[in-house]
Symmetry: C2
Subunit: 165 residues, 2 copies
Amino acid sequence: MSNEPATEPRWLDDEEQHAWQAYLHATTLLEDHLDRQLQRDAGMPHVYYGLLVQLSRAPRRRMRMTELAQNAKITRSRLSHAVARLEKNGWVRRENCASDKRGQNAYLTDEGLRVLEKAAPGHVNAVRAAIFDRLTPEQIGQLDEICCMIADGLQPQGADLPWLR
Amino acid sequence: MSNEPATEPRWLDDEEQHAWQAYLHATTLLEDHLDRQLQRDAGMPHVYYGLLVQLSRAPRRRMRMTELAQNAKITRSRLSHAVARLEKNGWVRRENCASDKRGQNAYLTDEGLRVLEKAAPGHVNAVRAAIFDRLTPEQIGQLDEICCMIADGLQPQGADLPWLR
């Protein structure tokens, strides 16, 4: 609307537009694919699976809820909702934090670990078939670098980050 | 559990695991960021914005619902829900297809076009700041190629694709 160059947005050029569409297609299809696979074979969505993996790797299979949200890059309310569902399944329990009365830990139960171990082979096969078996080692390195650049840029100090909301 | 090598899943190695975590972090953070920006500045989530963009580029600002779902890589039920909301806002209308009595078109209203044109500069700035201003032209080409590889692999003939469900 204005003729001032400073106010005109820099629209994406053809290469950028093509890459952006490819990104949207790949990420949307992959999330749908992994979600369906895990729902069908393990009765949980992809985000729940990620929470179980995190807990399984933590000392004593326990983590602070705030840390769990930060690592999963999700909001505290989304985490609370997910953990409530996982608790209902008997896969996770919450407990008050010994060192901090306001804090809460989540821990992975034996049953949760069993479910995770059963789900893991199918999930890793799906991730491999969709990504790692299709890319060269060089492309895997490029993907890693590009994704780290994007993730780093979206987590500046003081930003409106999901796990702080 | 078994000693047969054929049944043991091929777990991700360290490089693959690192790239996979980076991918999950980048994609989760970016979707949250773009959704928040569009909700705040234009009153719609990212997926709705994508639908308005598609319609704005179509001849006579009209598209078949099935085609719209396929391009957005979403299920028909998710599309129906989104279009119902967009219709309520007066941004999109549905009409029966002249050539196929079972088919439906969606079209972008003048009001929808106005809303899209107002939202576009802020959205493109957010996409640029998060991705394209952070990557070299070479990396943009790599991202494009990698995403096309992943998206192509997830759309085989006869697969359980979102828009066919």
